[in-house]
């Protein structure tokens, strides 16, 4: 009897794995609220429209993509990746070229379109502060955030080597936005040294929210969407958009996918106006389709980086892609010092 049950379970498992190769694609993202929003706005809509099931996987792992592509056994069809990785990986032969006959790029923000990737959503690094922790004395500029005399206590920054913190350090040190690139790393690290003992790093969006809400770090640099969600949950968070630094996640297709056509169709849908608007409203990030904003209600629109373009600074993804490894090496060496 037990043997039969085991055999039946085994057969069922086989049947399940067999089915995965039929009409299904795998979408991989970072988990959490972001992927929930992507599933609701994109994957479910795609299944409804095409009948193709979308399996969710995660978190995105560049090492896994490399291993998959090299072994020729690619199980992820569409992946949400960071912008600088997307540009670099495209150049390294890790990604499929996108089919712009299927994906309509005329409506997409050109800042986030490359031959191998299109924007998934974009966001800004903003300065935020828990007003309750500091009696309303909140830093307004990057220079403020790097000033430990005027603003004592811990401040939190993004932990990983990625666009955002180095730019902030240089802007705080007085570099003009137009002179940011090529990045003066020596100057940036020297500036970062001045606040190093007061930095608490956040590795995930959820952690950044926890640090700010608990006042563990009363201020810092955050993804705008995360601060917005905190405000909605009742935390007295104050945001400064001064010199907000934009960066994007991109949708990419690992080279050698068995569902290339479906992957292109999925991206076409995910980047169209309405799914972009829905995803942005739910996750607090910004849509990369230029028609999406019009579909969002006023309060959601006010929270978008594109309402704050006056002093906006764009992180240069091409520069980052070209120097990703070199910066990472210095970044992690500096961090562990």
């Amino acid at each position: 009897m037990r043997k039969m049950i085991v055999a039946a379970a085994f057969a069922a498992a086989l049947a399940l794995t067999g089915a995965a190769s039929a009409e299904e694609i795998v979408f991989t993202s970072w988990g959490g609220t972001t992927q929930d929003a992507q599933k609701a706005a994109w994957a479910d809509a795609f299944t409804k429209k095409t009948g193709v099931k979308v399996l969710e996987d995660g978190p995105t792992d560049y090492g896994k993509i490399k291993a998959m592509v090299e072994s020729g056994n690619v199980s992820w069809d569409v992946v949400d990746a960071e912008g600088d990785y997307a540009v670099q990986a495209g150049g390294n032969g890790m990604l499929e070229k996108l089919d712009f006959n299927v994906i309509d790029k005329s409506k997409l923000d050109p800042r986030f379109v490359t031959p191998y990737s299109v924007g998934s959503f974009y966001y800004s690094f903003v300065i935020a502060c828990n007003a309750d922790a500091v009696n309303g004395k909140c830093p307004k500029t990057w220079a403020d955030l790097f000033d430990t005399k005027k603003f004592p206590g811990k401040r939190t920054f993004y932990k990983w080597s990625a666009p955002g913190v180095i730019e902030a350090a240089l802007l705080a040190d007085g570099v003009k936005p137009k002179d940011l690139y090529p990045l003066d790393l020596d100057r940036a690290f020297k500036k970062l040294d001045t606040i190093k003992n007061d930095i608490v790093w956040w590795g995930t969006g959820a952690q950044s929210q926890q640090l700010l809400a608990s006042q563990e770090a009363p201020y810092g640099s955050f993804w705008n969407g995360r601060v917005d969600l905190l405000k909605r949950s009742g935390v007295n968070a104050v945001m400064s958009w001064d010199q907000n630094i934009t960066a994007a996640d991109e949708l990419v297709v690992p080279k050698g996918t068995k569902h290339r056509d479906l992957a292109m169709k999925f991206i076409a849908l995910a980047t169209s106006a309405k799914p972009q608007a829905e995803m942005a409203a739910a996750a607090g990030y910004a849509p990369i389709n230029k028609d999406s904003a019009a579909l969002m209600d006023k309060s959601a629109r006010a929270m978008l980086p594109e309402e704050h373009t006056a002093t906006q600074v764009n992180a240069d993804m091409n520069y980052w892609a070209a120097h990703r490894d070199e910066i990472a090496k210095r970044w992690y060496a500096w961090q562990t010092k």
Partner: protein, 298 residues
């Protein structure tokens, strides 16, 4: 296993061993085949592949090892890893020994309660426990609030995102791994020996340092080895409770592979960690012997 069969069977069966022995002590090989296959398929093969990669990627040679062993950054990560593992091991032994002793001598019913608490904490999700420490230890957490309320401190203590946080969190997680083997060893120490020592005039301190600790030492060594080796490769707790300046090796490996896509260097780091672990294990075998380790000092 064989030992317990013998002692239960008694000496008269042992004497008629020639016929019975094959039954009592079957050749164990067929039984371990599934485990061996599993280990070879899912451990030996991937580890070998990683090792091969570490000398081939990005180009053939020992470049990855040279980079790993020749850079201050990585040396610091190695040093951090050993520092944390050693700290956690020492603290676990220091805290775990009295608990194990108490467990061994306390009435069975109370012992069961303590056991249940220990096991329950072990079975609770690791991530949940780590987050709980994060909340407890943070500047606005209950521990700091209590200390300030009691007037013991003026400003909140920094206990998380640094070495303190990692050490507290990991010691807590490792404690059962030292208490459980240790209490088994202590339980097996014949109380008559302690009585004899007392009769011969040894005071309590002498009984502890001359009798109990030496007899429990193999258990301490076994538990400490387990804790030290597990700590060397720990990932979640240091990643969440530590700061970047005390990054440990497992975090470095994950970072190298996941975000820097450097399988070669990541593989080399993993391999160095494996060698160190095996070397420590070999040293332990040399000092305490395999039999004493696995039979809890009997």
């Amino acid at each position: 296993m064989a030992q317990t069969v013998y002692s239960a069977a008694g000496s008269d069966i042992a004497q008629s061993a020639p016929q019975v022995k094959p039954k009592r002590q079957p050749n164990g090989f067929p039984a371990v085949v599934p485990a061996l296959v599993l280990i070879v398929l899912f451990f030996v093969v991937p580890i070998t592949a990683l090792l091969v990669r570490s000398v081939l990627d990005p180009k053939p040679g020992l470049g990855n090892y040279a980079q790993l062993l020749g850079s201050w950054t990585y040396a610091r990560v190695f040093a951090n890893t050993f520092e944390v593992a050693a700290l956690v091991t020492i603290l676990s032994v220091a805290i775990g020994f009295p608990v194990a002793w108490m467990l061994a001598i306390m009435p069975r019913r109370w012992g069961a309660v303590i056991f249940a608490i220990l096991l329950l904490s072990m079975w609770t999700n690791l991530l949940a426990r780590t987050y709980a420490w994060m909340v407890l230890l943070q500047r606005t957490g209950p521990i700091n609030k209590l200390l300030i309320y009691l007037g013991l401190i003026d400003h909140p203590l920094a206990m998380v995102n640094d070495l303190t946080g990692v050490t507290i969190g990991m010691t807590y997680i490792m404690l059962p791994f030292i208490i459980l083997p240790l209490q088994g060893v202590i339980k097996n120490i014949d109380p008559a020996i302690l009585q004899a020592a007392a009769l011969c005039g040894a005071n309590r301190w002498k009984c502890l340092t001359r009798i109990l600790i030496p007899l429990a030492l193999p258990g301490v060594a076994a538990g400490a080895l387990m804790v030290f080796v597990m700590s060397l490769g720990y990932f979640v707790t240091p990643a969440l409770l530590g700061g970047t300046s005390n990054m440990m090796l497992a975090e470095l490996i994950a970072q190298l592979v996941q975000s820097l896509v450097n399988w070669g260097l990541g593989g080399a780091a993993a391999f160095v960690l494996l060698i160190v672990t095996l070397a420590i294990y070999a040293l332990q075998l040399r000092l305490f012997g395999a039999g004493r380790l696995s039979h809890g000092g009997q």
